[in-house]
Amino acid sequence: MNHIHFFRRFMTANLLLIHTFSFAQEQVSGKVEDINHKPLVGATVQILGTTEGTVTNTDGIFSILIEKDDKLVLSFVGYQNDTIAPVFGQTKHYKLIESNIQLGDIVVEAESSSLDEFDAKHTELILESELLKAACCNLSESFETNASVDVSFSDAVSGAKVIRLLGLDGRYVQINRENIPLVRGLSGRYGLGFIPGTWIQSIDLGKGAGTVVNGYESMVGQINLEFKKPENSEKLYVNAYANSFGRFELNTNFATDLNEKWSTVLLAHGDYFDFELDRNDDGFMDLPRSRQINIFNKYKYQGDKFVSQIGYNVLRDEKAGGQNGFDFGSDHLSSEFYGFSNNTTRIEVFGKTGLLFPHKPYKGWGLIYSGSYQKIESGFGRRLYEGEETTFYGNLIFQNIIGNSFHQYKTGASILYDDFDEVFQNSSFNRQEIVPGAYFEYSYLPGEQFSLTAGSRVDYHNLFGTYFTPRIHARYQIKPGVNVRLSGGRGYRTPNAITENIPFLISSREFIVQEELEPEVSWNTGGSLATFVKIGQKKVNLVFDYFYTYFENQMVVDQDASSDAIFISNLNGDSYAHSFQLESSYDITERLKAKAAYKYYDVRTTLAGELRRVPYISRDRLFFNLEYATKFEKWKADATVQWFGRKRLPNTSDKPEIFQQDGFSPDFVLVNAQISRGFRWGNIYLGSENLLNFKQDNPIIDAENPFGENFDASIVWGPVPGRLVYVGLRYKIKRQ
C-alpha cells in the first residue's frame, strides 16, 4: 500500500513538473544527418549545460522542449559534436561531420561491434568492418567472430551451420530484414544460408525478448539485418571468393540514383561447389555439392511527404551430398548411394511505405508488407520430403509523442497468413495459419540517464487461440558509460516438426511425431551490466549479462530414448535455459584491439519424465579475438580462438558395442584467422577457418551401411571438414 501511495505521489509530482515546465518551454525539432543527408539514428541531443536531452528516432529526427535561449549539443559516435541554436517552428536539418572517416565508407576508428549505449534493449550493433572478418559466406558465418552467437555444424552430411543464442536454438531468435520477418517457417533451419554476407550493411543483435512491433516470435532475441541501401551503397561492389575445398563465390552489388527521388540497389550472389570432399575417408562427402543463385533488388523513393521502398528476392539453392557418387539430380529411391538433397526455390516481394509529417517529425505512419512463396524438396536416403509455404505479412504502424518527445509510442495492427503443404514419406500435412494482431508500445525517453520501453500485443491465431505478448525493457545509467538493463517478455512460435529436425532424418532412426504439436511458448527475463574499468589511461569495457528462458511449451526432440527412433512431442514438464556471459574488450594500442568472453549455459529439458541437459551444448565456452589494423586499414589482420567445453551426447547404449558413443564429447579449440591488404579500389584477403585442422573422428556411425539399422549422421558435436583456406578480392567503386 505504502509503495503504491508513494508511486502515486511521485507520478503526480512528475506530471506537475512537466506541466509547469511547459509554460516556459517550447517544442523544437530537427533532423540530424551526415554530410550525405543520411539520417543519424540515435544521435544524442542534449541541452547545453544540463543533463537533459533526447535521442533522434529512426529517421534521424528529434524533438525536445527547451527554453528560448537554450542551445543544443548534437553528438553521435564517430562524429564531431556540434552546438546549435535551434530555430523554433521549423524542422531544420543539421549535419554532423564524421570525426575519423575516410570517404563515407567504413568508420575506421569507431568500434566495429559495440553495445548501443542508450537503447533500453540490450542491443549489440555489428558493423560491416566486423562482418568482413568472416569473409565467407553467409549470415550464419557472419557470427563466427561474435561472442554472443554460437555457430556450429548441424550434422555430418548437410553442411548446414546453425546458430544458437542464450544457449537455445536459432529458431527462437526472430530474424528480420529491415523489420520484415525473414528466416522463418520452412526455411527457419537453412534460411541463414540464403543471406550472403556481402549483402549486409549492419546487424542489430538484441538479446532477450524483442520489441512487440515486429510480432510475437522473438523468444530469446532479435536479429535485424540492414541490407545495402539504394541511397548510399557503393556504385559497384564485387566480392570474389575461392577456397581450398573448391568452392567459388561471386557477389556483385550495384547501387545508383535513378533521379532526384528514386534510387535502387541490385545484389546478386552465385556460388558453386561440385567436389566429392571426403577427407575422413568414410565414404561420405564432408560437405554436400552445392550451387546457388540469389538475386535481391530494391527501389527507394524519397519524397518530402513520404518514403517508399519496394523490392523482390529470388533464390534457387541446390545441395546434393551423402555418399560419394550421389550427384545433383540423382534419384533417391533408385540410387545405390545414400543421398542427401535439399533444393529450395524462394520468391519474395516486399515493401515499406512511410508517411511523414514534415512539421511534426516525431509523427508518422508506416506500412510494411511482404509476400513470399517457397518450395523445398529434400531427400534423406530413401526418405523424401516436399514442402510448400505461402506467406503474407502486413504491419501498419503509427508513431507519435504524448505531449513531448520524452513520451513516445508506437501502435498498430498486423496480419500474418501462412499456408503450409508438406508431404513426408507419403503422408501429407497441411496447415493454414491466419493471425491478426494489434499492439501498443510506449517509450519513456527522458535522456541519457534512463529509458524505458513497455509494450504488449494481442494476436488471435485461428488454430491456437489468443496470444498475449507483454514485453518490457528498462535502462538506467549509473554514470556515463555504465548502464544497467532489465528486460522481460513472452514469445510464441509454431514449430515445424520436419524441417526443424532435418539433421535427425539423416540416420536410420524412425521419425515419430507423437502428438499434435502445440505452439512453443516461452518467457524470457534477464539483465545486463555494461561498465568499464580503467587500466592507466585506457578503458577495459566489460559487459555481464544473464538471461533465463522458461518454456511453457516446447517442441521436445528426444534422441535419448532409443537409438532407433527420434521422438517429437510437446513439453511435459520443465524446460529452461540459464545463460551467463562476460565479455570484455580492450584496445591494447590504437591499432591492436582485443576481445575476450566467457559463457556459461545451463540448458535443460524434460525428456521422458526426466529433466536432462539438452545435448550438443557446451556448458562452458571461451572466446578470444585479436585485431590489428594499420592506418586506413591498409593492412588488417585478425584471429579468433574459441574453446568449447565438452557437450552431452545422446544415449547410444542400445547400439551394438562398436557403435556406442561416449556420453560426452571431448572439449576442443577452433581458430580462425584472416589477413587483408587494402588498396584504393578495395582489398584482397587470405584466411583460414579451423586453422588447427580439428575434426570430429567418425562423425557418422556405421557409415559403411547407410541403409542398415545403425547408421546415424546426426550425432555431431564438432567440425566435420577440417582446415579451410580461402582467398578473395573485394573491388569497390564509390558513389559520388
Binding site: 531544420k92 543539421y94 549535419k95 561531420i97 575516410q102 592506418k631 586506413f632 559520388q736
Partner: protein, 120 residues
C-alpha cells in the same frame, strides 16, 4: 659561380635520388579546409606507392609527407594531391576533382561557421 651552384645542386639532387629506399621528408602547402579534407588526403596517400607517412596540419594546411626516394618523387606526390582536388604548392588542383569534393571541402565552406545550419 651561379653555374657551379646550379651544378652542385643538381648533383646533390641526383645523388639523393640514386640512394634507393632513402626516406625523405617534405612539407607541402595545400588548399585543404576541413577535417574531411585531411582524411581524404591522408587516406589517399596511404595507398600511394612509396609513401610511408602523411599528416596534414589543418591550422596552416601544411602536409608533411615521408616517402621513399627511389619509389616516388615530390612531383608525383603533388600531382596526386592535385588529382584528389587540392592545390599542392605550385601544382594547381584538377578542376574536375575539386568539383566532385563534398560541399564542406570547398573554398569558403567554413567562413561563416554556418555549416551546422545549412539548409536542406
Amino acid at each position: 659561380m651561379k653555374v657551379i651552384n646550379t651544378l652542385a645542386f643538381a648533383l646533390i639532387t641526383l645523388s639523393i635520388q640514386a640512394q634507393e629506399g632513402k626516406i625523405n621528408r617534405v612539407e607541402i602547402q595545400t588548399s585543404a579546409v576541413c577535417e574531411m579534407c585531411k582524411d581524404r588526403i591522408e587516406y589517399d596517400l596511404a595507398f600511394e606507392k612509396g609513401i610511408k607517412f602523411a599528416d596534414l596540419n589543418l591550422e596552416n594546411k601544411i602536409l608533411t609527407v615521408e616517402y621513399k626516394t627511389g619509389k616516388t618523387s615530390v612531383e608525383t606526390i603533388k600531382k596526386r594531391i592535385a588529382k584528389i582536388g587540392y592545390t599542392a604548392d605550385e601544382i594547381h588542383r584538377i578542376p574536375i576533382s575539386y568539383e566532385n569534393l563534398p560541399a564542406c571541402c570547398k573554398d569558403g565552406a567554413h567562413d561563416d561557421e554556418g555549416h551546422h545550419e545549412e539548409q536542406h
